[in-house]
Symmetry: C2
Subunit: 127 residues, 2 copies
DNA sequence: ATTATTGCAAAAGTTTTGCATGCCG
DNA sequence: CGGCATGCAAAACTTTTGCAATAAT
């Protein structure tokens, strides 16, 4: 992967945030430094970085759009059904170690992974 | 909700299948009985039925399209990363009762639900 | 110089919607 | 008759892609 200023800016923007921006948000932010950057470039780079496992791409059924995360440590998310915020949960995947073993009981295929997220009302929206 | 022959056909098609058809598949099947039915009508009815909790709409990040399920009993799914089949798992949600309690530990918001699915290789593709 | 990356624009894919017409109660 | 549902077509939205120009090594 060859260096590019655009990709560096995209990555540094993601690094600076603990929320989980969409491609559109990355685009409009990086656009301030690179007014000519195109949305296609943003998507290409986000996918490339995800492919290289430098970032992670998350899909949440309730939200139409993909969200990108600089934190590649395995962790789970909470989606607020009120404000749509995506928030990291403190619980560790170790707390859910048995989940795939449980699902494998009585199932003929090979389970290799799972996708889990939670939804509800975030602290802010509760007030 | 007023009766319509199209909606009845859509529902009866879903009832007849234990897999989890996409809107496109529902469309091309119901089209045999109603050659003039439009994709818009299919989407409107599927959403309406899901809204009324007669069917369920499922989104799987790895698959681009929504899948619809006549079975509204809570259950989990397995998605084959080889053939993209969506398969019901035998494990019951009761086996995962503690999942939301675990996630709530150290989290400030209100957890009201979760979304969980598994992926891997199905029996057929293993051969 | 070679190759990856960009910007632009067009296309692809899924889902939604406006509107005139038709069907249900 | 009154109102919900339909068919059609267009639009909305997110994401991908072809291609000529540009930037990186």
């Amino acid at each position: 992967m060859k260096y590019s200023r655009q990709r560096a800016a995209i990555l540094s923007f993601l690094q600076s945030r603990r929320d989980h921006p969409t491609a559109e948000l990355v685009y409009s932010s990086v656009k301030e430094e690179f007014p000519n950057i195109s949305l296609g470039t943003v998507y290409r780079n986000l996918n490339q970085l995800a492919e290289a496992r430098i970032i992670t791409k998350h899909s949440f059924g309730m939200l139409g759009t993909d969200h990108f995360d600089y934190n590649t440590d395995p962790h789970y998310h909470f989606v607020c059904s009120c404000c749509n915020a995506v928030i990291d949960l403190p619980a560790s995947p170790d707390d859910f170690l048995s989940i795939e073993a449980e699902a494998a009981k009585g199932f003929d295929g090979l389970i290799q992974g799972h996708s889990l997220y939670f939804c509800g009302i975030c602290k802010n929206c509760l007030n």
